[in-house]
Each structure stands twice: as structure tokens, then as C-alpha cells.
Symmetry: C2
Subunit: 737 residues, 2 copies
């Protein structure tokens, strides 16, 4: 909650959201037509958006942040830049430039960005794969079409675009509408009615489908912004990069749009690797590719990106997590679906409470409000244990009601905590971090519950980690495509009795009638379901014959060719299709957010900017600065470099001309947390140097022989700067002048 003054400003906006939240609920409750609900949801989202924009406007600003300054720094010191930037900046190769200026959304990481990214990934690997004992895989980027057909990407992974009917130039439909509408709203010639309509369009645009967008384009006569030509109707553009494998062109393939599919297709092997036991988690770190129609916002929306994905496979009837007790009291900022519909802000709550609340509400709802009858209790228990996913089987209104700050299960909750811990460790400001629950109509149709870790940046709240309970959707899709069951065996607590209905063939008669095909026919009979056997039996009884389709053709069976046997069997295991809980990280987005959150200006000297990256993430841990280029310092410098190399500390020596203060500023700018300076005092035996902490600009003096271990401990977080100050004498000279 913001301050009372601000809340006063926001109150009407909150009420306006709630009005539509309530309307949506009541429409769902009363079973209103889908079109009415959808319309109300669009309006609800528009109101939510207005509220959020106002909230951000009114929020007390973080210490002045200047994006242009940060971007300049990132480019100048080569954290990252657009790919083949050198080809772009040419006057002398105009034709070439034209040929590649459309190629946006690709970035090259320079030494600083590359090291920072590698450090983040290293930390991720330790935090998740090592600490949680996950199975890491590394699958190919090139993915044959059938895999992505099975996953649904070939059919559904698309954005709407419109084309210039004459030049063929493409525009993302929603972006085009937004740009045109904003221009028209500013235009004095636009009528008041049109202006209102356009404001309305902008607010609702996110929820528009192709027909909505086409209607707007037609109504306002939107044309190509480049040529003024007419535009086509919106057409779906698949966002995967296509290619072909092999020389014939017959094997279509795509660059993977996510790493997750590589895990799903290897599920059986991974299960086997885990000795057949659930739960287990697999993880993958690697590149993903999306052919965005119009990439923008730097690292936020790009065409090639690094993902870290976890697929945690779990028994759908038991999503408890063994380590949940350890994190139960960990607090998160949760922006539940319910709060979003009520116009209320995110709330801080322990993950234990959030999961308990869900279970409680779920029970109450399933039981009705009164005392539960014994029968009802049993039903509730069964329902909760069943493999059915809430979103899949419960009515929509149930889903809407269940969102009250509640997280669907312990495993999902456990991961949300671990994600939060990771993000804070790499340098995300926890005050600018929240988990936003998807509303029912945002959620992929197969997901049970989904909470995005969103980070507040100068671009607004950015989704950086998706945390979804995807139920059994993915494994089921691949099963449908391959007919290979992707299931695990679950040991039953007590053996279960099942009814078996079997068609027993009269081998002699079938053999005589069908000769070479008899074997196939009997194989087919053996695999019939109880239901199929029943139908066959019925047909035989009523007509004396029945047709059986098998791989080799069709066979007409007579009554004497088979008998039906029914009996009970005790089974000790059952086959289950695991649920998948998926945390999915966009490393580039997190990296950008960390850079924004760690960007500072020195008080009193705004030109002097620096990065307060956590030492574990900092691209370079230590700078080495000779106070002069006098050659007598060289043996001491060599000793310092040896110390650092021996302790595997990345360092950079800056012996450029310029005052030591200016060189400190250069190292601060790229977030080097520690700096060793060799000065003329260093020469006295035993050699000593100063060690400086960039954040506070304080210095201590220590022996060269102590440098390696000290910086190593500081950089790994085993020693704090206060510890160092207690251990070594303070060095007073004001070198930052």
C-alpha cells in the first residue's frame, strides 16, 4: 500500500477496477455467454492498466534514474550492443546498412556483459541444479517439425500482423494500431467522439483478437505508416525461425522457441535415470529463438535469448514438497488474481499462508459453506487427490474465486521462494519485485496456476520468470503425437483390485479362417480395452458376427471365434502421467533489471556513475592500479597479479594515463567491487598495497601476500567489508579526489 495521500488519489481507480472485477465474477457465476464475459474482461484489464500507470506515476521515485546514461555506459564499456553494430554505423556502405538495419533484436555481449551473464548462469546452476539435485540436460537447438507440431507451437505460436498490400512490408497489428491511435488522439482535427473511442481502443488493445483489430483498422482507415497504402487483414505470423535439415529440403525444422521441449521428449530416459521415481526435476540452460515481428526495448524483447528452464515432474495427487517447511515463513509480495480484480495492490504474505489459504478455500468451496457430510468429505478428498487439474475441470467461476492470494500447492510455492532468493542474490531490488498471478483468461488453457515474477524497471513491470503448474499438458501432447505413454509407475499404498475384461480367441478357428493374418488379429484382440471387448461381445450376441479392424485390414469374426473372460486382478502399481511445474527464466531480462537497479550516481557528482553489482555477479572482481608508470612498481604489480590469478579472481589492470581518481571512476563505472592500488609506499618490505571498496570508496592497507585470499573471500561473500576493515588498518589518503 502506498501513503494515505496517494491512496486517496488512487481510490476512484481502484473502485473502477473492482466494479468490473465484480461484474466479471457475476457474469461467470450466472453462466453468461462467453462473448459478454470476454467484453467485460477487456474492460477490466483496461481499468487495471490505468490504475497501474497511475500507481507508477505517483510512486515515490527511485533515486533519479537516467536510462540514456545507463545505455550509454553499457554500449561504451561494451556490456552489450546490437549485433554487428560495426556494419550498422557506416556511411560509406549505405546499401549494406540498408540491407541489415531491419535486422534488430539481436545482441552481442562484450567482455563485461559476457562475464556478468556467465556469473549469473553459474550462480543459477549452483542455486538450482546443484542444491536441488536436478538433472541437467543440453538438447539441440535445431528441432524437427514433428516435435513442435506435437507441442502445439507449429499451430499456435504466432502474433497478428498486417501487410502493406503493395510493398509487402509487415507491421505487428497491435503496434500499428497503437501508433496510429496515439497520433490521432493528439491531432486537433480528431472529433471528441473519435478521440474517446481511440482512448478506449488503446486501453483494450491487449485483449483484442484479429477481428477486433481489423474492425479498428477499417473504422479509422489506418494505412501503412511508411507508404500510406492499404493494409491486409491481420494474419497470423508464426514466431519460430524455420530452417531445413539436410540437403534435400524434406526435413523441416525450427530453432527451438523454448528449451522445455527438449526435456519433455527425454522424459522417459530422465525418469529411468532417476531410477523410476517421482518427483524429480530436470533443467536446461540454453538459447531460445523467437522471430518477433518488431523487437524493441533493448534486452527485453529480443529474437535470440538465453533461458534457464526447470521442469519439475510430480505426482499430480501429491504436490507437497519435502523442503517446504524450510521456507514456510519466507515472505513474498503476491499480486493475486483476486487483488487484481478488486483493484487492490500486491500484498506481502508468507508462502506458507498462501498455500494453506488455497487448500482451505478449496476445501470450503468443494464442501459448500455448511458442515461437511461424511460423503461430501470423501468426495472432496477424492477430488483433491484426483489427477484432474483445477483449471481444466472446475468451472471458470471457481478458478476466479480461488485466486485470493493463494498459491495452488507446496511445490509451486517452494519454487516461488527459490526464484525470489535467486533474483535477490543476483542483485534485483526486492522492493521492485512481485509475483503476479495470471487471471483465468491469461492462463494457458492447460495451466492450473501461474505466477510471474515481475520486476519493476523504467519500462514498467517486466515478466522475468514464469512459474506455472502446467499439469500433464506437455507430456500428454507428446503422447498423443507418438503414442508412447509418458507415464510413471506409482506404488499403491495398498494393492488395488481391478476388473479385467479379456477377449480370448479360439486360435484354431481364427488361424484356419485368416491364415497369415491370424497373428495380427490376435495381437489386436489382446490390446482391446474392456469397453471395446464389451462392444464386440454385444455385436456378436445380437448379429452373430462383428468386424475387427487391425493393422493388416478388417476381419469378420464369428461368435465361435472368441469367448469373453471377466475376472478380478490385484495390482500394486498404477500408471500416472506426472504434472509439470515449470519455472522459466529469461536471463537477459533479469540481467537488464539488475543493471537498472544497480545503476547509481555519486552524490554531488552526477556525471560520475557506478554499478553496485553484487560481487558474485560483477564481471571483474578486482582492478589493479599502479599509481605511476614508474618501472620500479612492476615487480610489485607482478606479485599482485600472481596472487589474484592463483586465487582465480578475474582482474583488470588499468595503467592508462590519468589521475588515480579518474581511473577509480572508470573501474566503478563497470561495477568492479574491489581495487588494489600499488603506490610508492608499496616498496617498503614487506610490500603492501591499498584495497578499496567501490561502494563506500573506503580503503585499507594490507600485505601483497594477503591480497589473493582476502579478495577471494570478499568476492565470494565469505568476508564482509566490515570484517576487512576490522582486520586491516584503514588507509586514509583521499584518492578519489
Amino acid at each position: 500500500m502506498a501513503s494515505p495521500e496517494i491512496e486517496q488519489h488512487l481510490a476512484p481507480l481502484r473502485a473502477s477496477v473492482k466494479e468490473y472485477g465484480d461484474l466479471v465474477r457475476s457474469l461467470k457465476e450466472s453462466g453468461a455467454p462467453k462473448v459478454d464475459i470476454d467484453r467485460a474482461v477487456v474492460e477490466l484489464k483496461a481499468r487495471k492498466k490505468r490504475l497501474e500507470e497511475r500507481e507508477l506515476e505517483l510512486a515515490p521515485k527511485e533515486a533519479a534514474f537516467d536510462r540514456l546514461k545507463l545505455e550509454d555506459l553499457l554500449k561504451r564499456r561494451f556490456f552489450y550492443d546490437q549485433s554487428i553494430a560495426s556494419f550498422r554505423e557506416l556511411d560509406s556502405a549505405v546499401s549494406l546498412t540498408l540491407r541489415i538495419e531491419g535486422v534488430t533484436g539481436l545482441y552481442d555481449f562484450g567482455p563485461m556483459g559476457c562475464a556478468m551473464k556467465a556469473n549469473m548462469i553459474d550462480l543459477w546452476r549452483k542455486h538450482f541444479i546443484l542444491e536441488e539435485g536436478m538433472l541437467e540436460v543440453d538438447c539441440s537447438v535445431l528441432t524437427p517439425e514433428p516435435v513442435l507440431k506435437a507441442s502445439g507451437h507449429v499451430d499456435r505460436f504466432a502474433d497478428w500482423m498486417v501487410k502493406d498490400v503493395k510493398t509487402g512490408e509487415c507491421f505487428r497489428a497491435d503496434h500499428l494500431i497503437k501508433n496510429h491511435a496515439e497520433k490521432l488522439i493528439q491531432d486537433k482535427k480528431t472529433s471528441a467522439a473519435d478521440r474517446d473511442a481511440l482512448v478506449d481502443v488503446l486501453a483494450k488493445l491487449e485483449g483484442f483478437d484479429d477481428k477486433d483489430m481489423q474492425a479498428v483498422i477499417k473504422k479509422f482507415h489506418f494505412k501503412s505508416p511508411i507508404t500510406g497504402n492499404e493494409l491486409t487483414d491481420p494474419i497470423a505470423f508464426n514466431l519460430m525461425f524455420p530452417t531445413v535439415i539436410g540437403p534435400t529440403g524434406d526435413f523441416k525444422a525450427f530453432l527451438r522457441p523454448e528449451t522445455a521441449q527438449g526435456i519433455f521428449v527425454n522424459f522417459k530416459r530422465l525418469l529411468e535415470f532417476n531410477q523410476g521415481k517421482l518427483p524429480f526435476a530436470a533443467a536446461q540452460i540454453g538459447s531460445g529463438f523467437r522471430n518477433e515481428i518488431s523487437p524493441r526495448q533493448g534486452l527485453i524483447r529480443v529474437r535470440e535469448f538465453t533461458m534457464c528452464e526447470i521442469e519439475h515432474f510430480v505426482d499430480p495427487s501429491d504436490k507437497d514438497h519435502p523442503k517446504f517447511a524450510k521456507v514456510r515463513n519466507y515472505e513474498l509480495s503476491l499480486f493475486s488474481a483476486c487483488n487484481q480484480m478488486d483493484g487492490r495492490p500486491a500484498e506481502t504474505c508468507t508462502i506458507g499462508d498462501a498455500v494453506d489459504k488455497y487448500n482451505l478455500e478449496r476445501k470450503q468451496q468443494l464442501a459448500g459453506n455448511g458442515e461437511m457430510s461424511k460423503k461430501r468429505k470423501k468426495e472432496v478428498k477424492k477430488d483433491m487427490e484426483s489427477q484432474t487439474c483445477l483449471a481444466g475441470n472446475a468451472t471458470s467461476s471457481q478458478v476466479w474465486e480461488l485466486g485470493k492470494g493463494a498459491v495452488a500447492n507446496e511445490t509451486l510455492g517452494y519454487y516461488m521462494v527459490r526464484v525470489h532468493q535467486f533474483l535477490v542474490k543476483v542483485g534485483v531490488d526486492p522492493r521492485r519485485l512481485r509475483f503476479r498471478q495470471h487471471l483465468a483468461n491469461e492462463m494457458a488453457h492447460y495451466a492450473c496456476d501461474c505466477w510471474d515474477a515481475e520486476i519493476l524497471t523504467s519500462y514498467g513491470w517486466i515478466e522475468c520468470v514464469g512459474n506455472a503448474d502446467r499439469a500433464c499438458f506437455d507430456l500428454h501432447q507428446h503422447y498423443k503425437a507418438t503414442n508412447v505413454k509418458l507415464t510413471a509407475e506409482k506404488k499403491l499404498s495398498e494393492p488395488k483390485t481391478v476388473q479385467v475384461t479379456e477377449a480370448v480367441p479360439n486360435k484354431a478357428l481364427i488361424g484356419k479362417a485368416y491364415k497369415a493374418n491370424a497373428k495380427q488379429i490376435m495381437a489386436r484382440l489382446a490390446e482391446l480395452s474392456a469397453e471395446d471387448v464389451g462392444m464386440l461381445e454385444g455385436e456378436l450376441r445380437s448379429t452373430g458376427k462383428a468386424v475387427l479392424t487391425y493393422e493388416g485390414g478388417e476381419a469378420e469374426l464369428k461368435t465361435d471365434m472368441l469367448s469373453v473372460k471377466r475376472y478380478e486382478k490385484k495390482v500394486h502399481v498404477e500408471e500416472i502421467t506426472p504434472s509439470v511445474i515449470e519455472p522459466s527464466f529469461g536471463i537477459g531480462r533479469i540481467m537488464y533489471a539488475v543493471l537498472e537497479h544497480s545503476f547509481r550516481q555519486r552524490e554531488g557528482d552526477e556525471q560520475r556513475t557506478f554499478l553496485t553489482l553484487p560481487p558474485q555477479i560483477a564481471p571483474i572482481k578486482c582492478s589493479v592500479l599502479p599509481i605511476s608508470s614508474n618501472l620500479k612498481l612492476e615487480p610489485i604489480l607482478e606479485a599482485v597479479r600472481e596472487q589474484l590469478a592463483k586465487h582465480e579472481i578475474s582482474f583488470k589492470q588499468d595503467d592508462s594515463a590519468g589521475s588515480i581518481g579518474r581511473r577509480y571512476a572508470r573501474t566503478d563505472e563497470i561495477g568492479i567491487p574491489f581495487g588494489v592500488t600499488v603506490d610508492f609506499e608499496s616498496e617498503k618490505e614487506p610490500w603492501t598495497v591499498t584495497l578499496r571498496y567501490a561502494l563506500t570508496m573506503e580503503q585499507v592497507r594490507l600485505q601483497v601476500s594477503e591480497v589473493g585470499r582476502t579478495v577471494q573471500d570478499l568476492a565470494a561473500g565469505r568476508m564482509s567489508w566490515e570484517d576487512a576493515q576490522a582486520k586491516f588498518p584503514k588507509f586514509e589518503q583521499k584518492a578519489d579526489a
Copy 2:
């Protein structure tokens, strides 16, 4: 050199190679036509190949190696397997299987392979990037066409293939010829003459061009092995995977065939990052893609692979390396071009000798055999300092002569040592590792010198790391494409006087005559070279007018419109295009070689195989084995797991049923070097466990509280197993029974 008995067998083959080596030399010396030399080289290579095959046949075998057993292990324990293997093994989805069975050459790494690969890359990063202070970059995989046009890949990165004229099915031409020829040679109906001709074809195939191959296909009437249809002439197939960026289809791009180009296009920025100074090295780790016509041999020839590439930029006139003195006495097995031509085997020699020899021979050769005259000495010096690359400018015969076990410069030699150190560290058997120098006609036309690190596997000698001095080729290619000079400034030891010739325009007259275009004309005049100015001047003098082409068109200049000014200028720097020395690693190939070299069978029990991977590379460092599933062991197990996790040691608990001996065998099989067993003795306070070393199967007993640090030190190589045995009591029980 092999044993005298073996050498006796090889002698005639060696002589037969030398005969052609000498012939090639003399042909080159006498300036024979290229076609004659090429023919002799093909025969030379065929003879080399026969010699090598015989050498391998006669060499004493490594302890019996069974490739099928290793492959079974790698698949079963999920080191790696073909991508989407689950889609491949289906009977029930035949149509789908057919659609993807042609999609070969793609591999998924499971938990074991993935961890092993990550460990290798981690070690690579420390060994090269950290220890040598390299600038790491991470560039996009998607590469716009202009970049690969500039690098030459669009035009030249291709293999020959032939197509079935009716079905369009494709075959790599050399593979098709090989398979047909081998079959015909076996066929009793083949005439002796044809058999001889085909043996000859097989030996020379590697050097064949499209015309040679077409001649063979026509002569022997080779058809499609699938349909028996006629085949097309060999056509070039570009090995890059094509795609398009953005929705219009206008921006062609490829998946990068190597990571190196990302470094070259960022050269300017990297130089700037290095404060403008040479030498410096940049490195990149990432995926490369080659659309092989027919991938095979497991990880050896694949379509998607991990590369680690270094581009070391250096002043072409000074390729000494500051750390060369440290490695001067390091011995390598060098298989020089000269030895290859003489039919002699690889020789062991220090890198210092190899580089010295080169310089000596180079001097002698340039000076002639007699005493050098002063003038000649000066010429030699100039030549050696010049930027010209030997292979580019020297005659071919010089290149052939210079190969006598000699490495072209200190920087190349230094990297060869570092590469050798790395390969041995990750587990390559140094006895099966050699550096083979490229023969002149194998070398890319721009390279000065190239030594491949080759590793002997069951597939023969495999190129795993290329080490090339590429001179200024790459930077020059990108300069030609963009017209942006990719040069560095070199401070001259003393200022140099240069002649300047400048065209000075008469602004008033040109302005009057050309109005709006005058500015462009004057800009053009300012950028004319001295030579152009001279020509313009000459033309004006002789005809009174001259035509100048500028961006806006053509201008006719008159004598009074410009004067020519000539003067001397002192310059303190000169522009140089750096040479590039490139070590390029194929991680998958190295990984496969390490797996082969570390694969063992227990003496007396051949079914029991194990991997002796270096602990730093082992996917899992430690196993945890409870001797029974008795719950009272659980707290001790938990304490062991905590110890290991705290020390960041990857571990795997195996509590499957089965004797402890069988479980040890399971962990040995995947190369887990250390194993902790919790038994019933463990319960006595303070808790103790046994620690087992897989290689020797010996065990010691230590306290649980000592486990983490001990295994950490052992795994990092800070403690040897002997140290551990000295420190802790031996545990005698024979658990491996």
C-alpha cells in the same frame, strides 16, 4: 618411432611416400604446371594414407577397447544420445518415424554428458580466459547474410553432392564413391584392372574435386544406392543452415558456422576495450552449425556442436609472446609437413626448438646459403617485419621447404603448448595426441601456418583443435565488405617522415560552377590518394581539364579549380592490420576422445567397465551409498549430503536394491571418482563413513564432519589419494566382492 621390427615392415611404405614428397618438391622447384603438381600431391596423400593405416594396424594395441560397449554405456546411462530418440524408437508411429529418421547429426546430452561438458567448458574458461586475461564475448547465433558473405562462407563453405535424378535424394559425392568402390572391390566379378583402378580411387578420393568425382561416377556407372537411378553431376551444397529474420522474408540469415566471425565484427570495440593496445586475445564459447550432407561417427561429425574459439590479435611484425620463455622446454609430438612428405613419423621436440628452427631456416633461406651481404640482411629484416604472410606471398616451394618441424612463431607455439596442457588436463592420453602441420595445399589459402591437434581414437586420428596463423585475412575481408578499416595504431619507435600530396580546391570557382554539389566535390578531393591526385594533376596539365567522379555524379574540373600541394609530415604512429592466431576447439570431439581414452574394463571381469575421468571433469564427484535401507541410517545420510552440498560437490545417492558391490559397479561405470558408504559401523559416535576411490577400489574410514572438505580437495586435485590414505585409516572390508 615404433619398434625396429615394425619399422622394418613400414620402411617400404615410408620410402614410397618420400618418393612422391621429393617429386612434389622438385616439381614446385622447377615451376611445373599446377595440374602436374596437383596430380603428384594426390598420389602423395594416397601413399601417406596407406602408411598411416599400416602404422595403426601394426601399433601395439591399447588395452582391448570395445566401442560397442562404450556406446551402450553412454546411451544407457544417458551421457548423450541422438536428439528426440523417443520419437525414433516407435513401432506404433511409423509414419512419424519415417519423417524424422533422416534427421541425424543432432545430439541431446543427458545429465552425465551435460555435466561433463559443463566441467570441460569451465576448465577451458579458467585455463584460457582467466589465466591469459582474454576478452570473452557472446555473440548471436543468427548471423545476417552480409557478414557471412564478407567472411567468404556464403560463396565457399560447401561440400559436393550428387542427386538421384528422379527422386531428388542426395548423397555426399565422396561417400557415395567410397561405398560403391568398396563393394565393387569385394565383388568377384570385378576385373583385376577395375579393382586396381578402384583401389587407386579410394586412396586419392580425399583430394578429388567435382570433375575427378564425376569422371569416376561416369566410368564405373555408379547409380543411386537406393533406387538404382542415374545421378546428377556433383553440385556444391552450402553447409550453412539458412533462415530468415523478421516477417517479410527480406532479411536472409544463417546459423553461424563458427563463432569466430562474431569476434571479427566486434574487433574495433574489443581493441578499444583493450585501450587500443596490441596484442590481445578474444574468445568465444558457443554453438556452431553445419548442415552436413551425411553426418556420422557419433559426436565426431554432427550438425550442431559446441566450439571454443580464440582469436589472438597481434602485430604482424612481432609475433613473439611474453610468456614463451615459460614454455620453451615443453615437449610436443610434432608431425611436420616435412616429415609427412618424407614418410617419417611424428617427432617429439621442445616448442622452443621448433620455433627457433623456423626462424633460423627462414633467415638462411631468405639470405641464400652464403654469407649475407649487408643489403641482403636489410632485405631479410624488412621481409620478416613486413605484414605479408609467408603463404600469401612467398612462392609455394618456399612454404614446402619451411615445414621442417618448425612452428612459425612464438605466439602460435605458445598456444600449441597451452592446448596440449588443456587436453591432457581434461583426460586425453598424451601418447595418443599429436600436432599435425597442414601441407601447403591443405592450408586455407590465407593461412601462414597451421597445426591441428589430432587425437587417436578408434576412428583413427581425429582433428580436435585447429591452431592457425590466419594472418590478416579475416579483418581484411570485413574491411573489404564494409570499407571500415579494422586496424590498430602502432606507436613508431621513432617518428617517421612521410610525403603528403594534397589537392587544394579553389572553393570560389568550384562553388560557382557546381553550386549545391560543390561540397560533395570538395569532400571527394580531400579523400583522394596521393596517386589519384598525381593522375588528376597530370590530366589537367596535359588537357586542361579532368573528370572527377563523386557521390553525386561527375564533375569536369578545370586547371584553375585546384592546385596541388606537396609537403613532408612527421608521423608517430602507423596503422597496421593485426594478424590473427586462432586456436579453435571442437568440444564434442574432445569429449568423445576423453571418453574413449578413459574407458576401462576391470581385470578379470570384462563385463565390469568403468571410466577413469579426471575428477575435475567427472560429471558427478561423489556417490552416497547406504549399506541398507534401514531408516536408522537416514540421519547419517542427511549429514553426509549436507557436508557435500555445503562444499558444492555434485553427488548422487544410490539406494536401489542390490549388493553394495553392484552399486559400486554402477557408480564406477559413470566415472564417479569417489564414493561414501554409510554402514552399520557409522552409527558409533562420532559418526564415520568409508570413502572409496574408484580407480583403485581402496577405501579409508573418516568422520562425517571431514567428508566435505576431503572430497572437495580430492576432486580439485589439491589432495592426492595417497595423501588421503596417509591421513585416514585404511578400511579393509572387501566391499567390491
